[in-house]
Amino acid sequence: MGETVEQAGFDRQGETLCLRGALVTRQVGPIWDAVMKAARGVRRVDLSGVSSLDTTGAALVLRSVAVAGEAQVEGASKPVAAVMERARTALAAPRPASGPDQLPLVAAVGAWGISLLQRLVVSTGFLGETVVMGAAVLRYPRRLRFNDLLRHLDEAGLRAFPLTLLLGTLIGVILAFQSSIPMRQFGAEIYIPPLVGISLVRELGPLVAAIILAGRTGSAFAAELGTMTVNEEIDALRIMGVDPMAMLVLPRLVAAMLVMPVLSLLMDLSGLIGMGVVMANLGFPPALVLNQLEQWLTLGGLVGGLGKSVIFGLAIAGIGCRSGLSAGRGPRAVGDAATAAVVGGIVATVVLDGLFAVLFYRLGW
């Protein structure tokens, strides 16, 4: 049962705009545009027929007065006049000079460049702090909080095993099936195991493990530390004389560096198993597949792959922690930090992988 209110309406009598009825939020929407048209050129706005008025109705009256030019408001009852006066005072208050997104193009480019530079400075500072903290921990290992380290090992490593196994197996199956089509044309299906094996061990294993780490763990680090930043917990730590780098960042970095080779190895093994299943399907016995792998896979390739995965882990965790610690204010900042962590982590991984490819090529690995 809604309250019944008098219908809002208007008419123009010569140079007077007569408004009537209940000028309230629910009523003025449908007549707003028509009132503005009728208000053009009037000299008086008559409110004697207005039975009730709220601030939305007052906004309608004030806008119609503005559209008319210099119209006189008359005939308002005492309560209507009181609301009009409140709304008039509210609208008379100074408005913001300009919106937040009204920078000229040159200034916008400059602001973007400055913010980029600032981010670079923050990242460099973070890198420096990490190196100093790492050196300090090597000297005083007790500064590393082992309970936190174990928790992060569990969250970033153990809990990522099922996903890694699933993705690794599927990637092995897909690679084997996809490569079998062109290989069959040359009668070279026997070379599928070394093709898939080398791809996995040297490139895909560490790369996909890094993407899993960036998506699962890098974003979680950023969100967790970002929330702590928003809640001023990081400031509280600093004021208590506790270094957030030692307490929060270092265990995460070490955990990511430790779990990455394990995840990469798991990815490699599950991929090889997936490939083996496809090969068996194609009529190649496991002994033959193993023989091929033994012949083509080198210890150098495996160590190179696992070694670079450690650096990927360091980069992903570092970017995740840095994004969280430099989060802004408000709930949106946490989302931005998590996005920056995932995007930054994946980009950094691919860039580093490119550098490793050049390095390994030069070294002849």
């Binding site: 545009d33 939305t56 906004a59 309560p79 509210a90 609208l91 100074p94 408005r95 900042a333």
Partner: protein, 263 residues
């Protein structure tokens, strides 16, 4: 165990055509009873305060009144309708006739203050965009935030966020506004300004306010009537004019509260 009725300072006023009516409300979470048999009425145009110490169930009672929780027992009527029973369009219509200011402001972080206030207008009215913006500017002007219209919630202070929360709650000019701890955590000057704003809006716009607070100065400044909940009594221990209760309360907790004494 609840206090004996004669101990409580309950001076019930019979209200004709109440805007809010709570009858024998009981709220329990599992076996933990928060309060029982809470009954009160709020008259049109008055500032009604729900007060009490921490953990007595003030905010839970507010959430019952606005339909976020269901009472374990009892009935609530808002603007003459049963919010719990209202469904679909009827519920939507009823919700558009009440506004809520949350303790933290609960502003949407990705929107400017102006867009926050425009949102209910967009959902519930057929006002053209320019009109919605004009109306939203009036509401922000009413709470003194005209110059902050284009700022994001993350860029304003706690006091400004509360005022913006009131502006958004008032977006549709609802006849009934619920305010959760409007002056908590604010400096005395900002708090007094907010109290004045509530009084002005009640007087000029005829808005009914239901305010949850434990700020004594605010209660005395704005409250026409109040009820007091108590954790130990698991229910209401006072109802009436806050100034009367301050001067003539007999219940020890009510007296201690108004005289700022340790219980």
């Amino acid at each position: 165990m609840a206090d004996a009725p004669e101990m409580a300072d309950i001076h019930r006023t019979r209200v004709e055509d109440p805007v809010v009516e709570a009858h024998d409300l009981t709220m329990a979470f599992g076996s933990n009873v928060l309060f029982r048999d809470v009954t009160f009425q709020v008259a049109r145009g008055e500032v009604f305060v729900i007060l009490g110490g921490s953990g007595c169930g003030k905010s839970t009672l507010l959430k019952l009144l606005i339909g976020l929780y269901r009472p374990s027992q009892g009935e609530i009527h808002i603007l003459g309708e049963d919010l719990q029973a209202a469904q679909g369009a009827a519920r939507r219509d009823l919700l558009s006739r009440l506004g809520v200011m949350w303790q933290s402001g609960a502003l949407f972080g990705s929107m400017t203050l102006l867009e926050n206030v425009m949102l209910p207008l967009e959902e519930h009215t057929r006002l053209p965009r320019a009109a919605r913006e004009e109306v939203a500017r009036v509401k922000l002007g009413l709470v003194g935030l005209s110059d902050a219209a284009n700022r994001l919630p993350a860029e304003i202070s706690g006091g400004m966020a509360k005022r913006a929360g009131i502006a958004r709650a008032m977006a549709l000019d609802p006849p009934l506004l619920f305010l959760d701890e409007p002056s908590a955590g604010l400096d005395p000057i900002t708090s007094a300004g907010l109290d004045q704003l509530i009084k002005d809006l009640a007087r000029d716009l005829g808005t009914t306010f239901v305010v949850v607070t434990h700020e004594l100065q605010s209660i005395l400044a704005i409250g026409d009537r109040c009820i007091m909940l108590d954790k130990q009594a698991q229910g209401m221990i006072a109802e009436g004019d806050p100034r009367e209760l301050r001067d003539h309360a007999t219940h020890p907790t009510v007296r201690a509260f108004f005289r700022r004494e340790a219980a």
